[in-house]
Each structure stands twice: as structure tokens, then as C-alpha cells.
Symmetry: C2
Subunit: 251 residues, 2 copies
């Protein structure tokens, strides 16, 4: 054990999430992608389109995590203030990135040209590099350990694809899930003791109510497959000893 | 104008959200419910099942918002540490709430009885009252302006139902949506100027790519219907003046 754990934080920027209008999908999407890179999503904040709120979150999270991601607010309209807010947090000016301007000029050549509004999407905090966007014109932005990505989930996904394998991380977190038609309160002791007996492993318990019955899925997580498998075996044995059936892969 | 704005924050507690395993639904659900109560969801944090992370978030958010909600981590298993963490944040002891114990005794009378593990769900920070749970046994908890709710969305929903109309709020935020098959970058100026011309109104622009075409929905928000309607009328007129069709209610 004792391997270095790499962490990331995410700031989701957007009134549309906080108003309940839009169901966020980027938390789950980024978390899943990070797991494969060997990086853990350690914390998330969802903030409104308000500069001071973004500045506070950026400065709180960028120092205590290896990476900071933001999604949302990098489009061409008046409510897209992410770049200005992050530049303010970093105390650097906003500049037009020549590479981003080229990308946008090409993209909009057959779509009515690069207007003033569209040129807004070439603005970056000074010192930034670009994250390719294969889906639509405007690129994402990298500044130090900060990755400024689009908010529309399929565009975010394209930007993450472009970053795959480029970030240093540790061992990916592996997991295995089993399910059982049991009230979690009936086997709380088994879960606690099994976790305690297996160093480096965490067991999550996720109850549900389905088809008129209670059940729960149990997710075992660790960075080495033998640890996961040993803990699952102990858990299955414990459940079977009390007469419960186990569904591999979860219910 | 000048009416008092009531705000709430939400802390989503759970490794299952940060691992990407579970798609959170409580942000959108709470946001929608709060709007009807005349309260705005001002910020959200998603934190792991780690006491220090919960303590930090609780103490940061409970003071600067009228209300603080938490979801998750109040079940019977070892990873359910919300009550202990919030009690630590408040510097009060954890006690068994007699009312909660009664509720659980009744609930489990025909379900195998109130075990030690199940009794964990009667534990509250000292000084708390209960939030009824119509869906399953364990109640939610109120402590001052903090509401400690379940994480399973349909149970959270039942607890919110029980709280409906009991919290002081301001005017509900009203909204109206129109959509158009237009690239938002083409009408960024129209959006900015229309918002500027209508005090107390915010316009959100939400682009999408569907059926091979780009479009956007525009959400106008204010606390008075005439404000919303006047701004929508101006926006529709502006879009039609440039030859765009408008879909009432959004696309």
C-alpha cells in the first residue's frame, strides 16, 4: 500500500443546474473517466454564473487537488463568464489565444464567419493552452492544473477523450458489485466487520426498493484485484451463511 | 424590487456519486422543490463519506445561507456517517431521539425488530427535531436551519413533501422558455441587450445539437410574471426580426 493517491475536483458552473432545469451529467461522466486515469474525484461544487462564486471555488480547490476541472460557461453568450472568472482567480489578464482564433475561423468559415460574439470563445486566461474539441468549434482550455471544459455533456466527453492518457495518475480504482434481496440494516455488522478485516478496501452499501421488496447492492473498491476479490469472497460467504442469495454484478 | 432573497445550499454526501457509480438526482429534485417554496438553491457541494470533508462543508455553508440541506449517509451501515459528522461540525453530542426510536420500533415490529444497527438511525445531533419519512422507517432530521435528508431519491422526495409549505421563503422564481433553431453565437448580442433592457430578469441560453442541427433554448427568469412576459415578448420580436422561428415552451 502507501501508493500516492491522485485527486481531482470539479466545479460545475451554471444557473441551469442550480435551478433544477437541467440534470447534470458531467459529475458522473468525469468521475468515470477519472477512475480510468487513476485519479479520484475528491469533491465537486456546483456554483451559479456569478464571478465571485467561481473565484472562491477555483481558489479553494485548485491548490488542494492535483487537478481541477470546470464544466460550463465557455460559450459565446452574456452568461458565459467562466474564462473571466478563472482569470480573475488566477490574477492574470484575459487574452485572445491565436490558436483558438484559428480553430474558430476555420470552423465558422462556412457558417457565417467569425463574429464578435464567436470570437469570445477564443478568449483564455493568459498562459493557457488548448484542449481539442472534436464536436463543435470552441476548444477547451488548460491553465496549469486547471482544465476548463464545455458544459454540454457530449462536447465535454469529446474533450475528455482528447485528454485520455495525458494526465499523470496512480493505480485505477477497481470495483466489483454484488447484490442481495436483504435489508441493509440486517447485515450492517457483516459489512462493517468485513471492511475492517480487509485493509485497503472500501465497501459501499446502496439500498433500494424494487418490485415491492427491499434489497441492496454492495460495491467493493480497491486498487488491486486480489484485494477486491478476497473481500467479495468474504462478503458472499457471510451472506450465504445467513441464508441469503447473492447476485453477482448487482441487482 | 428589493425583496429579500432566500437561499439554500445542498451538501450531497456519498462516495457513490463521486465514483460515478450513481447518477445524482437530488440536486435537480431539491432545486425544483425550493423554487416553489420561494427559496433559491445557491450552491451545492458533493463530498465523500469522510467526516472532515462533511464538517468543512457544513460549517462553510450553514452560516451564509438561510437553509442548508444534506442528502445521503443516514442509513444503518458503517459508511453512514452524516449524523456524527454534522454533530461534530455543530460541537454537540449525538443522542438517540426518543421519537425516532418510537418510529423505528413501530416500523420494524413486523420486520424482525429494532436491532443495534437499525437503532443507529434514531441517532441525531442533540437538539434536533424529526422530519417525517412516509416511504421507509428512518426519519429525516432538522437541527436549526439544517435539514438532514435521505439520499435515495424517492425517500428524499417524501421528506420534502412533508416539509412543503413549512419554510419561510420569498417570491417563487417564475420562468418561461422559448426555443429556436439558431446557433446561440448568432444572437448573443440580442440576448445580452434584451437582458440589460429588462431589470430583474435573467436570460439563460442553453445550446444543443439535435437531428443534425444546432439550436438553443432560452429561459427567462424573474419573480413577477409581467417581467417574464415582457422580456419573452422582446426576445421573440428580436428573433422574428432576423427571420427565426420561435417554439414556445422550448425545443
Amino acid at each position: 500500500m502507501g501508493e500516492r493517491i491522485w485527486t481531482a475536483a470539479l466545479i460545475v458552473i451554471g444557473d441551469e443546474i442550480l435551478s433544477g432545469r437541467t440534470q447534470d451529467k458531467n459529475v458522473a461522466q468525469l468521475a468515470t473517466w477519472l477512475n480510468v486515469q487513476g485519479i479520484r474525484l475528491a469533491e465537486v461544487r456546483i456554483v451559479p454564473d456569478v464571478e465571485s462564486a467561481i473565484v472562491e471555488a477555483v481558489n479553494a480547490l485548485r491548490v488542494r487537488n492535483d487537478y481541477l476541472f470546470t464544466t460550463g460557461g465557455i460559450g459565446p453568450t452574456h452568461d458565459d463568464i467562466t474564462v473571466d472568472a478563472i482569470a480573475a482567480a488566477l490574477s492574470v489578464p484575459v487574452v485572445v489565444h491565436p490558436g483558438a482564433r484559428d480553430v474558430l475561423e476555420q470552423h465558422y468559415a462556412t457558417r457565417g464567419g467569425l463574429t464578435e460574439a464567436r470570437l469570445r470563445m477564443a478568449r483564455v486566461p493568459e498562459g493557457a493552452s488548448l484542449v481539442p474539441n472534436r464536436m463543435s468549434g470552441a476548444p477547451g482550455i488548460r491553465w496549469g492544473n486547471i482544465f476548463i471544459l464545455a458544459g454540454v455533456p457530449h462536447i465535454t466527453a469529446g474533450m475528455l477523450d482528447a485528454l485520455t492518457g495525458t494526465l499523470e495518475g496512480g493505480l485505477p480504482v477497481l470495483s466489483r458489485t454484488i447484490g442481495s434481496w436483504v435489508a441493509e440494516s440486517e447485515i450492517a455488522d457483516l459489512l462493517r466487520e468485513t471492511e475492517r478485516a480487509h485493509d485497503g478496501v472500501s465497501i459501499g452499501s446502496y439500498p433500494f426498493f424494487r418490485e415491492g421488496r427491499v434489497g441492496a447492492n454492495f460495491v467493493v473498491r480497491a486498487t488491486a484485484q486480489p484485494l477486491v476479490d478476497a473481500c467479495i469472497a468474504a462478503l458472499v460467504a457471510g451472506l450465504k451463511a445467513t441464508g441469503r442469495d447473492v447476485v453477482d454484478g448487482g441487482i
